[in-house]
């Protein structure tokens, strides 16, 4: 279904009426409503006769009327526009049931109200997961588990302490090659050490860090 994202099409944009200032008075509003009723009824009569342009203007003018009727039933959000579209489709299908001798707006509003009630009933029948305890329990929580941030911070602090405790050459190799992800050439140019010395220092540093971070009594077999 197409959803509305834009301002409403006013009936008076399609059927020019009197100036807006007059519409603020109740009498003028009543007159405007009567004029709208007469114009819509005339357009519907023409549409029943097959006048496509009158039908197009009628359908557009029906949008705000149908929208108001649908909202009055309690529909909100995207459901309003779905019900408005249902109303237009129903109007098209049952346009022969409109009696040209009778008012058009009550006929249209009755259809819109019914489509809104249908939408409300459909929404009432739709199952909601929040009422399903099993689904509620099984729903994964996207947020980090409690204590996860604390553990991460502790691991980072341990690593920083272990790196700081390394000899200067090994610490430089770790900082430039592993943490700052520089290339061997860049690290060699920055530190003034050869690429071979950097590689050896990095290898030794990793071995030392593994030993210090594994904790007492934990180590690789053979160490």
């Amino acid at each position: 279904m197409l959803l509305i994202l834009a301002p409403e099409t006013r009936p008076d944009a399609l059927f020019p009426l009197r100036p807006r200032t007059l519409e603020s008075r109740p009498q003028a509003r009543g007159g405007a409503a009567m004029a709208l009723e007469e114009r819509l009824a005339a357009a519907m009569r023409a549409a029943q006769g097959g006048d496509a342009e009158a039908y197009r203007a009628l359908l557009r003018a029906c949008l705000p009327v149908a929208r108001a009727a649908v909202r009055a039933q309690g529909l909100r959000g995207e459901a309003v526009e779905d019900a408005v579209q249902d109303t237009l489709v129903t109007l098209h299908r049952v346009r022969a049931s409109y009696d040209p001798a009778r008012p058009f707006l009550p006929w249209l509003r009755a259809i819109a109200q019914r489509r809104a009630i249908d939408a409300l009933r459909r929404a009432g029948r739709r199952p909601r997961e929040v009422h399903d305890p099993a689904a509620y329990e099984a729903e994964p929580d996207a947020r980090p588990a409690p204590g996860e941030g604390l553990e991460a911070r502790e691991r980072a602090a341990d690593l920083a302490r272990a790196v700081a405790a390394l000899p200067a050459g090994q610490r430089q190799a770790v900082e430039e090659l592993a943490l700052r992800e520089r290339s061997l050439e860049e690290a060699a140019a920055l530190t003034g050490r050869s690429k071979g010395a950097l590689k050896v220092n990095l290898h030794r540093a990793i071995k030392a860090l593994r030993a210090s971070l594994a904790g007492p009594g934990v180590g690789r077999p053979g160490d």
Partner: protein
């Protein structure tokens, strides 16, 4: 802002306009009710050719014409109410129209019921399943015709419209039965008649409601 955002329903409007064909407005509810009543009359005339007029023989209870009048009035008013409630914008109060004729029909049948219950007992002088067959056999085509006619409109309260249609059909069937049914009724007769009439109304209300609901189509 895109074209779709400016006129969100334009595609649907264009589609509906492209499918527009001239239509003839439906006749008024009164005229449609008369057309259906004409079909009932035609069916009654057709039955004359195949059934005997047992109801016209022997003594007539005093209330018999009133019962028949009530049934005919109920059939006509219920048919009108069904057609009126099938048009959007017509008030649901039309559903109250057949209440008074139905009260007349049922009320006028009261003395006959009392006589039958206090009278000759449960033994019927004729087979009661004949009444059942007659009522169902007449109700079925009348129901189908009425539903087809009602479907051409837009019943927004399909169950109410269908129940009114069921009442119209049941009353019409009862009215058609009168000339072909012996006047001396028994308790079994009344039970069969009552159950069949209620069954016709109930079945129309249930099945007809589904058939008339345009949101299901």
């Amino acid at each position: 802002m895109s074209e779709i955002q400016l006129r969100p329903h334009d595609r649907l409007v264009d589609d509906l306009v492209a499918r527009l064909e001239p239509v003839r407005p439906l006749p008024s509810p009164g005229r449609r009710a008369l057309v259906w009543a004409g079909a009932v009359l035609a069916l009654g005339l057709g039955l004359l050719a195949v059934l005997e007029l047992e109801g016209l023989r022997g003594p007539h209870p005093a209330e018999a014409p009133l019962v028949l009048f009530g049934a005919v009035l109920t059939a006509l008013s219920a048919a009108y109410a069904a057609f009126a409630t099938s048009v959007p914008g017509r008030p649901a109060r039309w559903a109250l129209l057949p209440l008074a004729p139905a009260a007349l029909w049922i009320g006028a049948s009261g003395p006959g019921c009392l006589r039958a219950l206090a009278g000759p007992g449960l033994e019927a002088p004729h087979a009661p399943h004949g009444c059942f067959t007659f009522l169902l056999g007449v109700s079925l085509p009348l129901s189908v015709l009425l539903v087809l006619m009602l479907r051409r409109a837009c019943p927004l309260r399909p169950n109410l419209t269908a129940a009114l249609g069921g009442l119209a059909v049941a009353a019409a069937a009862a009215a058609l039965l009168a000339p072909f049914h012996p006047q001396e009724t028994t308790a079994v007769d009344l039970m069969v008649h009552g159950a069949t009439v209620l069954g016709v109304i109930g079945l129309n209300g249930l099945a007809g409601g589904r058939l008339l609901d345009r949101s299901r189509r």
